[in-house]
Assembly symmetry: C2
Protein backbone atom coordinates (compact mmCIF):
# COMPACT_ATOMS: atom_id res chain seq x y z
CA UNK A 1 0.00 0.00 0.00
CA UNK A 2 1.90 2.92 -1.37
CA UNK A 3 0.52 5.71 0.82
CA UNK A 4 1.39 3.68 3.92
CA UNK A 5 4.93 2.97 2.74
CA UNK A 6 5.44 6.67 2.07
CA UNK A 7 4.16 7.50 5.54
CA UNK A 8 6.54 4.95 7.08
CA UNK A 9 9.47 6.44 5.16
CA UNK A 10 8.54 10.00 6.08
CA UNK A 11 7.44 9.63 9.69
CA UNK A 12 8.70 6.26 10.88
CA UNK A 13 11.93 6.07 12.80
CA UNK A 14 14.33 3.14 12.67
CA UNK A 15 15.63 2.73 16.23
CA UNK A 16 17.64 -0.42 15.56
CA UNK A 17 17.79 -3.31 13.11
CA UNK A 18 14.72 -4.75 14.76
CA UNK A 19 12.71 -1.73 15.87
CA UNK A 20 10.65 0.65 13.77
CA UNK A 21 8.83 3.33 15.69
CA UNK A 22 5.63 4.59 14.10
CA UNK A 23 4.32 6.57 17.05
CA UNK A 24 3.70 9.52 14.72
CA UNK A 25 0.68 7.96 13.01
CA UNK A 26 -0.17 4.50 14.34
CA UNK A 27 0.96 3.54 17.86
CA UNK A 28 0.59 6.74 19.87
CA UNK A 29 -0.53 9.58 17.63
CA UNK A 30 -3.09 8.39 15.09
CA UNK A 31 -3.62 9.86 11.65
CA UNK A 32 -7.38 9.37 11.13
CA UNK A 33 -7.45 9.84 7.36
CA UNK A 34 -4.65 7.29 6.91
CA UNK A 35 -6.64 4.92 9.14
CA UNK A 36 -9.66 5.28 6.85
CA UNK A 37 -7.51 4.40 3.84
CA UNK A 38 -6.07 1.42 5.71
CA UNK A 39 -9.55 0.28 6.70
CA UNK A 40 -10.69 0.48 3.07
CA UNK A 41 -7.71 -1.52 1.90
CA UNK A 42 -8.37 -4.30 4.43
CA UNK A 43 -12.05 -4.27 3.45
CA UNK A 44 -11.16 -4.54 -0.24
CA UNK A 45 -8.94 -7.55 0.38
CA UNK A 46 -11.55 -9.38 2.46
CA UNK A 47 -14.80 -8.06 0.99
CA UNK A 48 -15.85 -11.36 -0.56
CA UNK A 49 -15.09 -13.42 2.52
CA UNK A 50 -18.38 -12.96 4.40
CA UNK A 51 -16.70 -11.58 7.51
CA UNK A 52 -19.07 -11.37 10.49
CA UNK A 53 -16.70 -9.83 13.01
CA UNK A 54 -13.28 -8.22 13.32
CA UNK A 55 -11.15 -8.94 16.33
CA UNK A 56 -8.02 -7.11 17.38
CA UNK A 57 -5.84 -6.47 20.42
CA UNK A 58 -5.77 -3.31 22.51
CA UNK A 59 -4.56 -0.67 22.01
CA UNK A 60 -2.89 -0.01 18.66
CA UNK A 61 -5.04 -2.45 16.73
CA UNK A 62 -8.26 -0.64 17.56
CA UNK A 63 -8.02 2.22 15.04
CA UNK A 64 -7.34 0.15 11.90
CA UNK A 65 -9.83 -2.51 13.06
CA UNK A 66 -12.53 0.13 13.53
CA UNK A 67 -12.10 1.68 10.10
CA UNK A 68 -12.08 -1.76 8.44
CA UNK A 69 -15.20 -2.72 10.40
CA UNK A 70 -16.97 0.43 9.25
CA UNK A 71 -16.27 -0.51 5.63
CA UNK A 72 -17.34 -4.11 6.08
CA UNK A 73 -20.39 -3.27 8.19
CA UNK A 74 -19.45 -5.52 11.10
CA UNK A 75 -18.58 -5.06 14.76
CA UNK A 76 -15.13 -5.09 16.33
CA UNK A 77 -14.08 -6.83 19.51
CA UNK A 78 -10.77 -5.86 20.99
CA UNK A 79 -9.09 -8.48 23.16
CA UNK A 80 -7.96 -7.16 26.50
CA UNK A 81 -4.45 -7.66 27.73
CA UNK A 82 -5.45 -8.50 31.26
CA UNK A 83 -8.63 -9.20 33.10
CA UNK A 84 -10.61 -6.32 34.51
CA UNK A 85 -12.85 -6.58 37.55
CA UNK A 86 -15.99 -6.25 35.46
CA UNK A 87 -15.01 -9.05 33.09
CA UNK A 88 -13.74 -12.12 34.89
CA UNK A 89 -16.07 -14.91 33.88
CA UNK A 90 -16.91 -16.52 30.61
CA UNK A 91 -13.88 -15.42 28.67
CA UNK A 92 -11.63 -17.08 26.12
CA UNK A 93 -8.03 -16.64 27.27
CA UNK A 94 -4.60 -17.03 25.63
CA UNK A 95 -1.06 -16.21 26.71
CA UNK A 96 0.95 -13.74 24.63
CA UNK A 97 4.61 -13.00 25.16
CA UNK A 98 5.74 -9.54 24.10
CA UNK A 99 9.39 -9.32 23.05
CA UNK A 100 9.19 -5.50 23.13
CA UNK A 101 7.92 -5.35 26.68
CA UNK A 102 9.55 -8.61 27.78
CA UNK A 103 6.48 -9.83 29.57
CA UNK A 104 3.66 -12.30 29.15
CA UNK A 105 0.12 -10.98 29.03
CA UNK A 106 -3.12 -12.81 29.27
CA UNK A 107 -5.38 -11.71 26.44
CA UNK A 108 -9.08 -12.39 26.62
CA UNK A 109 -12.35 -12.01 24.77
CA UNK A 110 -15.74 -12.48 26.34
CA UNK A 111 -17.56 -15.57 25.08
CA UNK A 112 -20.60 -13.36 24.55
CA UNK A 113 -18.97 -11.56 21.64
CA UNK A 114 -17.33 -14.38 19.74
CA UNK A 115 -19.20 -17.54 18.83
CA UNK A 116 -19.00 -20.53 16.55
CA UNK A 117 -21.19 -18.73 14.04
CA UNK A 118 -18.54 -16.06 13.48
CA UNK A 119 -16.25 -15.86 10.49
CA UNK A 120 -13.49 -13.63 11.75
CA UNK A 121 -10.99 -11.18 10.33
CA UNK A 122 -8.12 -10.62 12.76
CA UNK A 123 -6.45 -7.21 12.47
CA UNK A 124 -3.32 -5.98 14.21
CA UNK A 125 -0.90 -3.10 13.83
CA UNK A 126 2.37 -5.09 13.65
CA UNK A 127 3.43 -8.59 12.74
CA UNK A 128 6.88 -9.52 14.01
CA UNK A 129 7.25 -12.79 15.88
CA UNK A 130 3.59 -13.55 15.50
CA UNK A 131 2.89 -13.98 19.21
CA UNK A 132 -0.07 -11.59 19.32
CA UNK A 133 -1.61 -12.91 16.12
CA UNK A 134 -1.25 -16.52 17.29
CA UNK A 135 -2.87 -15.55 20.60
CA UNK A 136 -5.82 -13.97 18.79
CA UNK A 137 -6.06 -17.03 16.57
CA UNK A 138 -6.22 -19.20 19.67
CA UNK A 139 -9.12 -17.13 21.02
CA UNK A 140 -10.99 -17.61 17.75
CA UNK A 141 -10.36 -21.35 17.84
CA UNK A 142 -11.52 -21.58 21.46
CA UNK A 143 -14.77 -19.92 20.38
CA UNK A 144 -15.21 -22.49 17.62
CA UNK A 145 -15.29 -19.64 15.11
CA UNK A 146 -13.59 -19.72 11.72
CA UNK A 147 -10.90 -17.37 10.44
CA UNK A 148 -10.97 -15.64 7.07
CA UNK A 149 -7.49 -14.26 7.53
CA UNK A 150 -5.24 -11.84 9.31
CA UNK A 151 -4.80 -8.24 8.25
CA UNK A 152 -1.59 -6.56 9.36
CA UNK A 153 -0.70 -2.90 8.95
CA UNK A 154 3.09 -3.32 9.09
CA UNK A 155 4.85 -6.66 8.73
CA UNK A 156 8.49 -7.09 9.67
CA UNK A 157 9.07 -9.72 7.04
CA UNK A 158 12.56 -10.50 8.34
CA UNK A 159 10.99 -12.01 11.44
CA UNK A 160 9.13 -15.28 11.62
CA UNK A 161 5.52 -14.17 12.24
CA UNK A 162 4.22 -14.71 8.71
CA UNK A 163 5.73 -18.16 8.31
CA UNK A 164 4.22 -19.28 11.62
CA UNK A 165 0.77 -18.05 10.62
CA UNK A 166 0.99 -19.57 7.15
CA UNK A 167 2.09 -22.83 8.75
CA UNK A 168 -1.14 -22.64 10.76
CA UNK A 169 -3.01 -22.40 7.44
CA UNK A 170 -4.02 -18.77 7.82
CA UNK A 171 -4.10 -16.19 5.02
CA UNK A 172 -1.98 -13.14 5.91
CA UNK A 173 -2.54 -9.76 4.24
CA UNK A 174 0.01 -7.14 5.23
CA UNK A 175 -0.31 -3.60 3.90
CA UNK A 176 3.41 -2.84 4.24
CA UNK A 177 6.08 -5.53 4.28
CA UNK A 178 9.49 -4.57 5.57
CA UNK A 179 12.44 -6.55 4.25
CA UNK A 180 15.10 -4.79 6.26
CA UNK A 181 15.77 -2.06 8.81
CA UNK A 182 19.37 -0.93 8.43
CA UNK A 183 21.35 2.30 8.72
CA UNK A 184 18.22 4.15 9.73
CA UNK A 185 16.51 3.18 6.46
CA UNK A 186 13.43 1.09 5.77
CA UNK A 187 13.53 -1.29 2.82
CA UNK A 188 10.21 -2.72 1.69
CA UNK A 189 9.86 -6.24 0.39
CA UNK A 190 8.17 -5.48 -2.92
CA UNK A 191 10.77 -2.90 -3.78
CA UNK A 192 13.71 -5.21 -3.11
CA UNK A 193 12.03 -7.89 -5.18
CA UNK A 194 11.62 -5.41 -8.01
CA UNK A 195 7.85 -5.77 -7.99
CA UNK A 196 5.26 -3.06 -7.87
CA UNK A 197 3.80 -1.86 -4.63
CA UNK A 198 0.08 -1.85 -4.22
CA UNK B 1 -27.90 11.92 22.66
CA UNK B 2 -30.98 9.81 22.14
CA UNK B 3 -29.50 6.97 20.08
CA UNK B 4 -26.81 6.47 22.72
CA UNK B 5 -29.31 6.42 25.59
CA UNK B 6 -31.37 3.84 23.74
CA UNK B 7 -28.29 1.72 23.18
CA UNK B 8 -27.40 1.94 26.87
CA UNK B 9 -30.94 0.88 27.83
CA UNK B 10 -30.96 -1.97 25.34
CA UNK B 11 -27.45 -3.34 25.64
CA UNK B 12 -26.00 -1.91 28.85
CA UNK B 13 -26.06 -3.98 32.00
CA UNK B 14 -26.37 -2.54 35.48
CA UNK B 15 -24.11 -4.66 37.67
CA UNK B 16 -24.55 -2.63 40.85
CA UNK B 17 -25.53 0.87 41.92
CA UNK B 18 -22.16 2.10 40.75
CA UNK B 19 -21.32 -0.09 37.79
CA UNK B 20 -22.75 0.00 34.29
CA UNK B 21 -21.27 -2.47 31.85
CA UNK B 22 -21.31 -1.40 28.20
CA UNK B 23 -19.02 -4.08 26.84
CA UNK B 24 -21.54 -4.77 24.10
CA UNK B 25 -20.82 -1.60 22.14
CA UNK B 26 -18.10 0.55 23.76
CA UNK B 27 -15.59 -1.09 26.10
CA UNK B 28 -14.95 -4.48 24.55
CA UNK B 29 -17.12 -4.97 21.50
CA UNK B 30 -17.39 -1.76 19.48
CA UNK B 31 -20.34 -0.76 17.34
CA UNK B 32 -18.66 1.21 14.53
CA UNK B 33 -21.76 2.97 13.22
CA UNK B 34 -22.64 4.18 16.73
CA UNK B 35 -19.05 5.41 17.08
CA UNK B 36 -19.43 7.45 13.91
CA UNK B 37 -22.58 9.07 15.30
CA UNK B 38 -20.80 9.75 18.59
CA UNK B 39 -17.86 11.29 16.75
CA UNK B 40 -20.18 13.55 14.79
CA UNK B 41 -21.95 14.68 17.95
CA UNK B 42 -18.64 15.58 19.64
CA UNK B 43 -17.55 17.40 16.48
CA UNK B 44 -20.81 19.35 16.36
CA UNK B 45 -20.41 20.48 19.96
CA UNK B 46 -16.79 21.62 19.47
CA UNK B 47 -16.74 22.58 15.80
CA UNK B 48 -16.29 26.31 16.42
CA UNK B 49 -13.53 25.85 18.97
CA UNK B 50 -10.53 25.60 16.62
CA UNK B 51 -9.42 22.24 17.99
CA UNK B 52 -5.94 21.23 16.79
CA UNK B 53 -5.72 17.82 18.45
CA UNK B 54 -7.78 15.25 20.31
CA UNK B 55 -6.25 13.36 23.19
CA UNK B 56 -7.67 10.31 24.89
CA UNK B 57 -6.62 7.37 27.04
CA UNK B 58 -6.11 3.80 25.89
CA UNK B 59 -8.07 1.67 25.22
CA UNK B 60 -11.77 2.47 25.27
CA UNK B 61 -11.32 6.16 24.45
CA UNK B 62 -9.67 5.44 21.12
CA UNK B 63 -12.75 4.61 19.05
CA UNK B 64 -14.85 7.70 19.93
CA UNK B 65 -11.75 9.92 19.76
CA UNK B 66 -10.92 8.60 16.29
CA UNK B 67 -14.37 9.20 14.85
CA UNK B 68 -14.49 12.71 16.35
CA UNK B 69 -11.01 13.43 14.95
CA UNK B 70 -12.12 12.32 11.51
CA UNK B 71 -15.00 14.81 11.62
CA UNK B 72 -12.82 17.65 12.92
CA UNK B 73 -9.90 16.90 10.60
CA UNK B 74 -7.31 16.63 13.38
CA UNK B 75 -5.05 13.92 14.75
CA UNK B 76 -5.57 11.85 17.89
CA UNK B 77 -3.00 11.03 20.53
CA UNK B 78 -3.85 8.31 22.99
CA UNK B 79 -2.11 8.49 26.34
CA UNK B 80 -0.51 5.23 27.38
CA UNK B 81 -1.18 3.67 30.72
CA UNK B 82 2.40 2.67 31.36
CA UNK B 83 5.72 3.27 29.72
CA UNK B 84 6.85 1.01 26.94
CA UNK B 85 10.44 0.30 26.07
CA UNK B 86 10.27 2.31 22.87
CA UNK B 87 8.89 5.39 24.59
CA UNK B 88 10.72 6.23 27.78
CA UNK B 89 12.11 9.73 27.27
CA UNK B 90 10.54 13.07 26.64
CA UNK B 91 7.07 12.29 27.90
CA UNK B 92 4.51 14.16 29.93
CA UNK B 93 3.43 11.93 32.82
CA UNK B 94 0.53 11.97 35.29
CA UNK B 95 -0.71 9.51 37.92
CA UNK B 96 -4.24 8.12 37.56
CA UNK B 97 -5.96 6.00 40.17
CA UNK B 98 -8.57 3.59 38.84
CA UNK B 99 -11.34 2.73 41.32
CA UNK B 100 -12.50 -0.10 39.03
CA UNK B 101 -9.12 -1.76 38.89
CA UNK B 102 -7.96 -0.49 42.29
CA UNK B 103 -4.55 0.49 41.02
CA UNK B 104 -2.57 3.57 40.09
CA UNK B 105 -1.32 3.87 36.52
CA UNK B 106 1.16 6.24 35.07
CA UNK B 107 -0.30 7.79 31.94
CA UNK B 108 1.96 9.48 29.45
CA UNK B 109 2.04 11.37 26.18
CA UNK B 110 5.18 12.04 24.18
CA UNK B 111 6.20 15.69 24.16
CA UNK B 112 6.55 15.38 20.39
CA UNK B 113 2.82 15.08 19.90
CA UNK B 114 1.47 17.71 22.26
CA UNK B 115 2.83 21.24 22.32
CA UNK B 116 1.96 24.71 23.56
CA UNK B 117 0.48 25.52 20.17
CA UNK B 118 -2.23 22.90 20.61
CA UNK B 119 -5.82 23.62 21.52
CA UNK B 120 -7.03 20.27 22.75
CA UNK B 121 -10.27 18.37 22.98
CA UNK B 122 -10.03 15.57 25.56
CA UNK B 123 -12.29 12.58 24.90
CA UNK B 124 -12.95 9.61 27.13
CA UNK B 125 -15.49 6.82 27.32
CA UNK B 126 -16.61 7.27 30.94
CA UNK B 127 -16.64 10.05 33.51
CA UNK B 128 -17.09 8.84 37.08
CA UNK B 129 -14.67 10.12 39.70
CA UNK B 130 -12.83 12.19 37.12
CA UNK B 131 -9.42 10.66 37.79
CA UNK B 132 -8.65 9.83 34.17
CA UNK B 133 -9.91 13.17 32.85
CA UNK B 134 -7.92 15.09 35.45
CA UNK B 135 -4.83 13.09 34.51
CA UNK B 136 -5.30 13.93 30.84
CA UNK B 137 -5.85 17.55 31.77
CA UNK B 138 -2.58 17.50 33.68
CA UNK B 139 -0.75 16.20 30.59
CA UNK B 140 -2.19 19.04 28.53
CA UNK B 141 -1.14 21.58 31.14
CA UNK B 142 2.37 20.12 31.30
CA UNK B 143 2.61 20.63 27.55
CA UNK B 144 1.54 24.25 27.93
CA UNK B 145 -1.37 23.54 25.58
CA UNK B 146 -4.87 24.92 26.10
CA UNK B 147 -8.08 22.91 26.54
CA UNK B 148 -11.29 23.54 24.64
CA UNK B 149 -13.19 21.03 26.73
CA UNK B 150 -13.78 17.42 27.61
CA UNK B 151 -16.09 15.16 25.65
CA UNK B 152 -17.44 12.15 27.54
CA UNK B 153 -19.49 9.33 26.07
CA UNK B 154 -21.18 8.25 29.32
CA UNK B 155 -21.20 10.35 32.48
CA UNK B 156 -22.16 8.88 35.84
CA UNK B 157 -23.61 12.14 37.07
CA UNK B 158 -24.10 10.78 40.59
CA UNK B 159 -20.33 10.71 41.02
CA UNK B 160 -18.11 13.72 41.44
CA UNK B 161 -16.16 13.80 38.16
CA UNK B 162 -18.07 16.63 36.49
CA UNK B 163 -17.95 18.94 39.51
CA UNK B 164 -14.20 18.43 39.82
CA UNK B 165 -13.66 19.28 36.15
CA UNK B 166 -15.95 22.28 36.25
CA UNK B 167 -14.13 23.47 39.37
CA UNK B 168 -10.97 23.32 37.27
CA UNK B 169 -12.70 25.64 34.79
CA UNK B 170 -13.16 23.05 32.07
CA UNK B 171 -16.20 22.70 29.80
CA UNK B 172 -17.67 19.18 30.00
CA UNK B 173 -19.85 17.76 27.24
CA UNK B 174 -21.31 14.34 28.02
CA UNK B 175 -23.42 12.54 25.46
CA UNK B 176 -25.33 10.48 28.03
CA UNK B 177 -25.72 11.57 31.66
CA UNK B 178 -26.77 8.92 34.13
CA UNK B 179 -28.63 10.11 37.21
CA UNK B 180 -29.01 6.74 38.85
CA UNK B 181 -28.31 3.04 38.51
CA UNK B 182 -30.84 1.14 40.62
CA UNK B 183 -32.76 -2.14 40.44
CA UNK B 184 -31.03 -2.98 37.21
CA UNK B 185 -32.37 0.16 35.54
CA UNK B 186 -30.60 3.19 34.10
CA UNK B 187 -32.14 6.60 34.76
CA UNK B 188 -30.84 9.45 32.65
CA UNK B 189 -30.45 12.95 34.00
CA UNK B 190 -32.45 14.81 31.36
CA UNK B 191 -35.39 12.44 31.77
CA UNK B 192 -35.54 12.81 35.55
CA UNK B 193 -35.37 16.58 35.15
CA UNK B 194 -38.27 16.40 32.73
CA UNK B 195 -36.22 17.93 29.93
CA UNK B 196 -35.76 16.66 26.43
CA UNK B 197 -32.87 14.49 25.47
CA UNK B 198 -30.66 15.51 22.62
Amino acid sequence: MKVLEEKIREEGRVLSEGVLKVDAFLNHQIDPSLMVQIGKEFANRFRDNHITKIITLESSGIAPALTAALELGVKVVFARKRKSLTLTDHVHVAQVYSFTKQETNEISISKEYLSEEDHVLIIDDFLANGQAALGLLELVQQAGASVAGIGIVIEKSFQEGRSKLEAAGVRVESLARIAELADGEVTFLEHTAGGTTK
